[in-house]
Symmetry: C2
Subunit: 175 residues, 2 copies
């Protein structure tokens, strides 16, 4: 049976990244639910389009056991993460990511995803694909120049432009 996926979408989110995951899940009959990393389900893409997620991250917290996989859809919210790190929705996001990893569930993400994992001391000694700008910033994870990397429960792509390289392995794991 296909694994159930929770998808985190930051605000703003890179729409090309988010929807490469979602359309692939849809086409492969993999069940998913989207959660805004925001106070409401109304968020925007980097490109300025308003969209509505199914729910907000606050309601994923405590319900992590309903899902077997967590996707982190990166976006222009991330370069400003430090100045918003104390927002409740960001704190909830970090807790949710930690809980998925604590239960050894699959973590998926591109671009700055690996930096979040690294800050949470997730993926220690595991190779990751990540944005070239942050390759030298991660400490516990092993930054690479790969387009995509699968190492244990961590599935990462360098940017939204390399999610297509990650999808075949990811879909195989989810089906």
């Amino acid at each position: 049976m296909a694994k159930k996926v929770a998808v985190l979408a930051v605000n703003p989110v890179n729409g090309a990244g988010l929807f490469q995951y979602l359309e692939a899940f849809f086409e492969n009959e993999i069940p998913y639910k989207t959660f805004a990393v925001a106070e409401t389900t109304q968020i925007k893409t980097n490109s300025g389009i308003s969209l509505q997620t199914d729910d907000v991250v606050a309601n994923l917290k405590g319900n992590e056991n309903k899902y077997e996989v967590l996707v982190f859809a990166c976006g222009d919210a991330m370069p400003k993460f430090a100045e918003n790190a104390d927002k409740i929705f960001n704190q909830d996001m970090l807790e949710v990511i930690k809980t998925f990893d604590d239960n050894n569930k699959i973590l998926v993400g591109h671009c700055a995803a690996a930096l979040l994992y690294d800050n949470l001391e997730i993926g220690k000694g595991k190779k990751v694909a990540l944005h070239p700008f942050i390759k030298s910033v991660v400490k516990g994870c092993i930054g690479t120049d790969e387009q995509s990397v699968v190492d244990g429960n961590i599935y990462t792509a360098q940017t939204e432009n390399s999610i297509s390289a990650l999808l075949p392995n990811l879909l195989k794991a989810l089906k």
Copy 2:
């Protein structure tokens, strides 16, 4: 100066396709406006996410001269196009596409875009990239197995998974 782009989004639209164009335009400072091929600006992605476009296609009709490029973002509305061909928004879409071509403006699209062009007798004798299922259906255009093709004013990609192959040439033309 960058060319102004009008983006048609059918309902439902493939989000991976739509947002690969939009995020690339955003990152390259190419001005764009999105138009739903629908009665309202509230449409859905194939994957079921509600999003809001800037305007509807009815308001692009008669205002084509404000734009130099037309993008057709394909989606699951298209397999059912025949049964909805008489809807005003679809008639408006066809008129708009024809007007852009009549003025020799750039037409961009993936998947079934070339079939629409072909039905409108656009792109006669020009090579196109298009979904493999419809390669043999086009009559005036020359269907190919290419990931992406630029022939004159017609820029096409085989599916949403090959837009990345089209983008470098497209962005060069738009900047």
